[in-house]
């Protein structure tokens, strides 16, 4: 029997349920305040493989997008990331992240000279490649990568405030993304209806989401293994 859009979305939900970010010690510690400052600083540097390299991901998605309606949407993402003029009071997203790093005592130069662990480098290579093909790119980006952010980031920001006394612009990165990345199930439904019409297409979407979540967990594991040595 052919897979419906609902079948695919249910399968994707099941993938996320089996790999909850909050179930990983890396993210759990960020929410529960069990990491020390050096560990949080290390994670901050490694996580910048996403935030300071984001143009490699949504930029490629924009280039690969075959549809003007979707391109309009991805152009918004690019504009917001690079300028922050739609949702972040004109603070570009790399600056939001550098402000967070500054709150932890990390300078801009330290952030741009970060030595990334293998897991982070692997993620960048995988994600950049996936974003070069539209259906896989949107699946990896919106249905896998950003799906678990809403709700989680707010809790992290709340903890950073209590644990390390961060406030104001040092927390904006987390609060802005808690809202900006929500409701991607709607985008997923549109994507599937418009671009994944055969069983093979739908299987590709599921396969991509699963693979992306797995690669993200490879990154989390590697970051966490390094963090554990920082007592």
């Amino acid at each position: 029997m052919a897979m419906t859009t609902n079948d695919v979305l249910e399968e994707i939900n099941a993938i996320h349920k089996a790999h909850p970010n909050y179930g990983h010690p890396l993210w759990k510690g960020m929410v529960e305040g069990t990491h020390n400052l050096e560990q949080v600083r290390y994670f901050c540097k490694q996580h910048s493989i996403i935030t300071l390299h984001n143009h490699n991901y949504h930029g490629r998605l924009y280039v690969a997008c075959p549809d003007a309606g979707w391109r309009e949407r991805i152009a918004e993402v690019s504009y917001e990331e690079a300028t922050g003029r739609l949702f972040a009071n004109g603070v570009s997203h790399h600056k939001l992240y550098l402000n967070y790093a500054k709150g932890l005592g990390l300078s801009k130069d330290e952030m741009y000279d970060a030595d990334y662990c293998a897991g982070a480098l692997a993620f960048k290579a995988y994600f950049s490649d996936a974003c070069s093909r539209f259906v896989e790119g949107v699946s990896a980006h919106m249905l896998a990568g950003e799906a678990q952010i809403p709700g989680l980031y707010k809790r992290i920001a709340d903890n950073l405030k209590v644990q390390f006394g961060l406030e104001g612009e040092a927390l904006d990165y987390w609060y802005v993304h808690d809202t900006a990345d929500e409701d991607h199930s709607g985008a997923g439904r549109e994507l599937l209806d418009q671009f994944a019409q055969t069983d093979a297409d739908r299987a590709l979407v599921i396969h991509t989401v699963r693979k992306t979540v797995e690669v993200m967990f490879v990154m989390y594991d590697d970051v966490w293994n390094h963090m554990k040595t920082l007592h």
Binding site: H55, Y62, V63, E72, S78, K95
Partner: protein, 232 residues
């Protein structure tokens, strides 16, 4: 004597002045409003290789930009092209172009399925590849060569389209918007060279890229003119 920013920009100005694109029969016909409708329609079909494929060009530039400040500038271009919300009353630039096509009697399905001439295909391949080389090469090709010719003449093209073929403001907006949007790239050229061109080899590279891109645009124009004459 070696090149510096001023000398490099002066050489680029000389290249554009020597090229005199406005004297090429295709552009002359557009600017002076002397082309018959079948030729104009064929031009509209072939020229779509730029506005309907533009994400392949500035999108690659955005991906390969190493500097957040420049990325902010290119993100504005991406946003304007993709949505038209900065300078085109919320009409995405591909829509501006479809409106132009419809004004000439070419519907969007026909426009989407154009059989491009070899010059157009070659231009797309060349320009896409340049926009993902080093940032200095990409911006030199895109802004110092590609967009430098046109502004100042597009208004005249729009006026003739209205006068001769009865296109309305919406249908000529592609031309009027770009008459303004692409102007003043000399300031950008100076910033680019100050920031990214550090030695003689860099300045020579910029000149080579601009020269090549102008040649490639001339190739596109020549082949477009060929198919336009066949369509006459």
């Amino acid at each position: 004597m070696g090149l510096d920013v001023d000398k490099t920009l002066a050489r680029i100005d000389e290249m554009h002045a020597a090229n005199k694109f406005w004297e090429q029969p295709m552009w002359q016909g557009l600017i002076q409003g002397t082309l018959p409708l079948p030729m104009l329609k064929e031009f509209a079909r072939q020229h779509g290789i730029i506005p309907l494929h533009n994400h392949n060009y500035h999108g690659r530039l955005y991906v390969h930009c190493p500097d957040p400040k420049w990325r902010e500038m290119i993100a504005e271009v991406v946003y304007e092209e993709g949505t038209g919300r900065l300078y085109a009353n919320g009409v995405a630039h591909n829509e501006l172009y479809y409106n132009f096509g419809e004004g000439l009697g070419i519907d969007r399905e026909e426009m989407k399925n154009v059989r491009y001439c070899p010059g157009a295909i070659a231009f797309k391949a060349y320009f896409s590849s340049m926009c993902e080389k080093t940032f200095l090469e990409g911006v030199s090709s895109h802004m110092l060569a590609g967009e430098a010719q046109g502004p100042g003449y597009f208004g005249s093209i729009a006026q003739h389209l209205k006068d001769k073929f009865g296109l309305n403001d919406e249908q000529v907006a592609f031309w009027t918007v770009h008459d303004v949007a692409d102007e003043d790239h000399s300031g950008i050229g100076r910033e680019l060279l100050d920031e990214f061109a550090h030695d003689e080899a860099d300045f020579q590279l910029v000149l080579k890229v601009v020269r090549e891109t102008i040649d490639m645009m001339n190739l596109l124009t020549a082949d477009t003119w060929r198919v336009m004459r066949e369509a006459a």
